[in-house]
């Protein structure tokens, strides 16, 4: 009887549940259709961008941080932020730029410069296809190029570019990663001197730098520089396929104005793109052409075995002038104030958005070669021939939108251009110039990226518009808001908006690569046995504290869950104390850290198998606790210790150290 009652109860309960669910569903549906909050398109966008917990994104996207000096690593299509890689910045999170091992990476001829404006990114490539070995980034303010090791996702090399300012047309790299380039958006006297600003036309010059990249190690070396007319060299692209020996730098300010450029540099109908045959130039330099300039610049590199960076100051370099490079350098007239010339996947078409002309000009590389062959010159500037505009254009995209800026390409012969003023992205056919589709973005896009969209093999699935203005896209966060990016599905005939996600700093450009190309190579930890760090402590037996005058070196180890030594006595006020902290761990994703009371340097974090050093100068006698800052284990909170600091002239406390000695006085 009882059992029967239970069954009846169960039926009633489940019946009620079904009815309730139906009611809720109906309510939801009516609510939605009435409010128009959810429609079928958005649902499919949600499905397309949803990466379930524990699953992986299809692409890694690297977005530059602009004035943050960092690179942000996102997943596509989810828009999730995975990591921030400090490059031209000090990072309190990792200790990059604070630890003695990483500080040299920020050295320049102007001194230690822990900031730069990081604009553009380039993933290394082979045969104009991304290979994912390294990522290159430019420093815009104090001209530099950095190399980021992609297996470790960390900055391992920086090189300063002398004689120039505002390294904006950088670090664009050639089809086989032979060269990275730099070019100044400011012309300055070369070599720099205190001339009158009014003497711009006479004294100011442009410098284009070609940085040679070692194909095996990735090490950078300044190959040569090119002295060119004093315009503002803005952006660059190497050719690929048939055009792979050429590099194209757009410029503005053919007017050579030095004040109120917004007006004075916007007068001419055309500006100039400088086309450079870098292969021939490299051969010229090899044959001994060019002048040797005395200069000073820094080359900084992290040794992979010790993981310690060092600085090399270089004092000479080779500069090619118009006496040397005849036959290798030409000017291409380009629609008013262009902001970059991009080369399509075939290498035959070069597209340039005339920022103030509201058209995208498509040049033909074949026609350019023919014009050079036929000497179809308009005129020449400083002995550089200017090719006839009508002889080199293939077609143009008429009315793509207002303020066309940057182009990327898919794998079906289409180009995509961002329009800053009309705030949209336009899809066009590269061969015909016909506009195919247009989609609004929010708001005012600068660069855009398609995974592999600047190579011979784009993955034409997603496009990310990197917008400059945020306004009402997210919950407001005061006057300064993170920029917004839009993920757009470009797999069909019509572009579809899939997702908005905030980007930190100001992403100027980005690169994306298939996750499966990087994921297997990602470093899990550093091999402690192979470490050649001069202050490494490879086992707890080797822990020690040494004194040389007022310099004290603490050879400390960290392993779950103790620091050794954790009691240090007899440090004196005014000592320069080096903590060389080695993580003895050999395990993935287990990090330790170090911080000390009153330490004027932020925490440093130490990954498995590496050694990091901080300097501390105690100012008062007392007890100074230190601890591990990275929640490494269940007993992380117990991972701590004490330093006793005595007066500068006290000699009664000898230097001593211990761990696990619980003797009491």
């Amino acid at each position: 009887m009882n059992n029967k009652m239970n069954f009846v109860n169960e039926y009633i309960t489940s019946g009620l549940t079904v009815i309730c669910s139906l009611l809720i569903t109906i309510l939801c549906l009516t609510g939605c259709s009435g409010g128009g909050v959810v429609n079928k398109d958005n649902l499919s966008a949600a499905e397309k961008t949803y990466v379930p917990p524990g699953k992986y994104d299809e692409f890694y996207a690297f977005l530059s941080g602009g004035y943050s000096g960092q690179i942000d690593v996102y997943g596509l299509p989810s828009g999730r932020l995975f990591k921030v890689i400090p490059v031209f910045s000090q990072d309190p999170c990792s200790g990059y730029g604070y630890s003695e091992e990483t500080k040299p990476l920020l050295m320049t001829s102007y001194g230690f410069l822990p900031w730069d404006d990081l604009h553009h990114l380039q993933i290394s490539r082979s045969n104009a296809i991304l290979d994912g070995r390294w990522l290159f980034a430019n420093g815009n303010n104090t001209p530099r190029i950095a190399r980021i090791d992609l297996p470790a996702f960390e900055t391992v090399e920086t090189i300063e570019l002398p004689n120039c300012a505002g390294n904006h047309s950088s670090p664009y790299i050639s089809a086989n990663t032979e060269y990275a380039v730099g070019g100044g958006r400011f012309s300055i006297p070369v070599p720099n001197k205190d001339v009158s600003i009014n003497s711009y036309k006479q004294n100011f010059k442009g410098i284009l730098s070609f940085v040679k990249i070692d194909p095996k190690s990735g090490h950078m070396k300044l190959g040569f520089q090119l002295l060119v007319p004093g315009y503002d060299y803005d952006l660059a692209r190497f050719g690929k396929g048939p055009s792979k020996d050429w590099c194209f730098f757009t410029s503005y300010n053919a007017e050579q104005a030095h004040t109120l450029l917004e007006v004075n540099a916007s007068q001419f109908d055309k500006d100039y793109t400088i086309a450079v045959n870098w292969k021939k130039l490299a051969a010229l330099v090899d044959s001994g052409k060019g002048e040797t300039f005395n200069t000073k610049y820094c080359h900084n590199i992290l040794d992979p075995n010790s993981r310690v960076a060092s600085t090399n100051v270089i004092s000479q370099e080779t500069v090619l002038t118009n006496k040397d490079y005849a036959g290798c350098v030409y000017f291409l007239p380009t629609a008013k104030s262009p902001h970059g010339m991009d080369v399509d996947p075939t290498g035959e078409y070069m597209t340039a958005g005339g920022k103030l002309a509201a058209e995208v000009t498509i040049f033909s590389f074949k026609k350019m070669l023919a014009a050079i062959e036929n000497q179809a010159y308009e005129k020449s500037i400083d002995n550089i021939p200017v090719l006839k505009y009508s002889e080199i254009i293939a077609t143009q995209v008429a009315k793509p939108g207002l303020g066309p800026l940057h182009n990327e390409f898919d794998d079906s012969g289409n180009g995509y251009v961002t329009n800053f003023i009309s705030s949209d992205v336009t899809k066009y056919n590269v061969q015909s110039g016909e506009v195919l589709d247009k989609i609004p973005v929010y708001y005012s896009p600068g660069h855009l990226l398609i995974p592999g969209g600047d190579t011979s093999k784009p993955w034409g699935k997603y496009l990310v518009a990197l917008n400059k203005i945020t306004k009402d896209r997210y919950l407001p966060t005061g006057p300064d808001m993170d920029h917004s990016a839009q993920l757009i599905d470009i797999s069909g005939a019509k572009m579809k908006l899939l997702l908005d996600f905030p980007t930190h700093g100001e992403p100027h450009y980005g690169q994306a690569i298939l996750a499966s190309m990087l994921m297997p190579k990602s470093v899990k930890f550093f091999d402690l046995a192979k470490s050649t760090h001069p202050y490494v402590t490879k086992s707890e037996k080797d822990v020690k504290v040494t004194r040389k005058g007022n310099e004290v070196h603490v050879y400390m180890t960290e392993i779950r869950s103790h620091m050794n030594p954790d009691n240090i006595q007899g440090i004196k006020v005014g000592d320069k104390v080096y903590f060389h902290v080695t993580s003895l761990e050999q395990s993935w994703s287990i990090g330790h850290g170090f911080a000390i009371l009153g330490g004027d340097i932020p925490n440093i974090r130490v990954m498995s198998g590496e050694t990091k050093t901080v300097i501390w100068t105690p100012k008062h006698p007392g007890i100074y606790p230190f601890y591990c800052t990275d929640f490494c284990s269940a007993l992380h909170q117990e991972m701590q210790g004490y330093v006793q600091v005595v007066g500068a002239n006290t000699d009664k406390v000898p230097l001593s150290w211990s761990m696990g000695n619980d003797k009491t006085d």
């Binding site: 779950r560 869950s561 761990e585 050999q586 395990s587 284990s633 269940a634 007993l635 117990e638």
Partner: protein, 354 residues
């Protein structure tokens, strides 16, 4: 000596030689924060991590619970085993070359001996490894020991430990079978007759049984199972088992273990299955709530237990343990009396009348 015999003996020798080149046993550990897993490969001549630093990381994690480091160089077994294996191997080789037919059986028997001694030693080492805990360990869980399973799967705190034989054990077994086969082949040639073969097969099966005895140990001496709190369900009422003070278990003659959230459920479940039940346990009310044999336990019927609303039966190991709690309810000193009480619904009336 026939060709067949020599082929059998050669295969045996090859299999035996192979045991030097493949792991004998695997211990695999996985935990929520170790999705990639940690593992130990046990070879004839030593232990190493499945990945280069697994051994180091296992030692590192084990120091929290006070387990000793595994230092392969300190384990005498890994010096003896490769030498011990050489004895039957060289025996086989010598008998193949010099046609010493009488040596095959001793070789096979010696292999069986190594197998038994090896496995008993392995089991013993696991016991010592899991029980020998540093009293100053940062994490101490009363009553908890950490022997890895001898064979199969076991939950050790956040780690699921799996222990399985490696290809080396398979090779050693094959070597034994073939060595034995060679000796049978010889006897059959001498005496003939299928009864001899049958008798020999019987001996072989007995050997196999001996080897696998340990894995079947649960049938002979059943052990209570660790309950996954909030996940395992009561075999009778199907509710999730959450109460660590009232749980109980029983095992049947098939070696199967049933879990219950209360003795009431266990009793109702067991009615009509009396002959089938081999053992019953209930968690001691006194921390650390170790399982105790129900047939030797004392019980307290109460509705005054802290943190629980209804009536319940608490279990104690003996009368001394129950005395401090006597004011909480009614004491019953044997399972048979308690059953009587449960059968007659004596339980609820007794408790409510208090």
């Amino acid at each position: 000596m026939t060709m067949q015999t020599r082929v059998l003996a050669s295969i045996s020798a090859l299999c035996l030689a192979g045991t030097y080149f493949v792991p004998m046993w695997y211990i695999i550990l996985s935990a929520p924060q170790f999705p990639e897993g940690l593992g130990l490969n046990i070879w004839l001549h030593g232990i190493e991590g499945r990945s280069p630093f697994d051994l180091q990381n296992i030692n590192l994690l084990n120091h929290y619970i006070g387990m000793a480091d595994i230092v392969p160089a300190q384990l005498i077994e890994f010096k003896l085993l490769p030498i011990a294996m050489l004895i039957p191997l060289s025996g086989l080789v010598v008998s193949i070359i010099f046609k010493l037919q009488k040596l095959y059986l001793p070789c096979a028997l010696f292999l069986v001996l190594i197998g038994i001694v090896g496995l008993v030693d392995f089991n013993h080492w696991e016991y010592v490894y899991g029980h020998n805990l540093n009293p100053h360990a940062p994490i101490k869980i009363p009553g908890m020991v950490y022997d890895p399973p001898f064979l199969g799967v076991k939950q050790l705190l956040n780690f699921t430990a799996i222990s399985i034989p490696g290809f080396g054990v398979v090779l050693a077994l094959l070597a034994t079978v073939f060595a034995y086969g060679a000796s049978i082949n010889r006897k059959m040639k001498l005496k003939g007759g299928s009864h001899q073969l049958l008798a020999n097969l019987g001996v072989f099966l007995f050997m196999c049984l001996t080897l696998s005895l340990n894995s079947c140990a649960n049938l002979l001496s059943p052990q209570p199972k660790a309950i996954a709190w909030g996940i395992d369900t009561c075999a009778f009422c199907k509710m999730n088992i959450v109460d660590r003070q009232t749980w109980c278990e029983l095992s049947n003659s098939h070696g199967k273990i049933y879990l219950f959230d209360s003795l009431t459920c266990l009793h109702k479940f067991s009615q009509g299955k009396k002959n089938n039940i081999t053992k019953m346990w209930a968690g001691n009310f006194v921390p650390p709530h170790k399982p105790i044999d129900i047939n030797q336990a004392c019980f307290l019927l109460t509705n005054k237990r802290n943190g629980s609303m209804g009536q319940c039966i608490l279990t104690f190991a003996n009368k001394q343990e129950i005395i401090p709690y006597q004011n909480m309810g009614r004491m019953i000193f044997s399972w048979s009396v308690l059953k009587l009480a449960l059968d007659k619904s004596f339980y609820s009336s007794t408790v409510s009348n208090q």
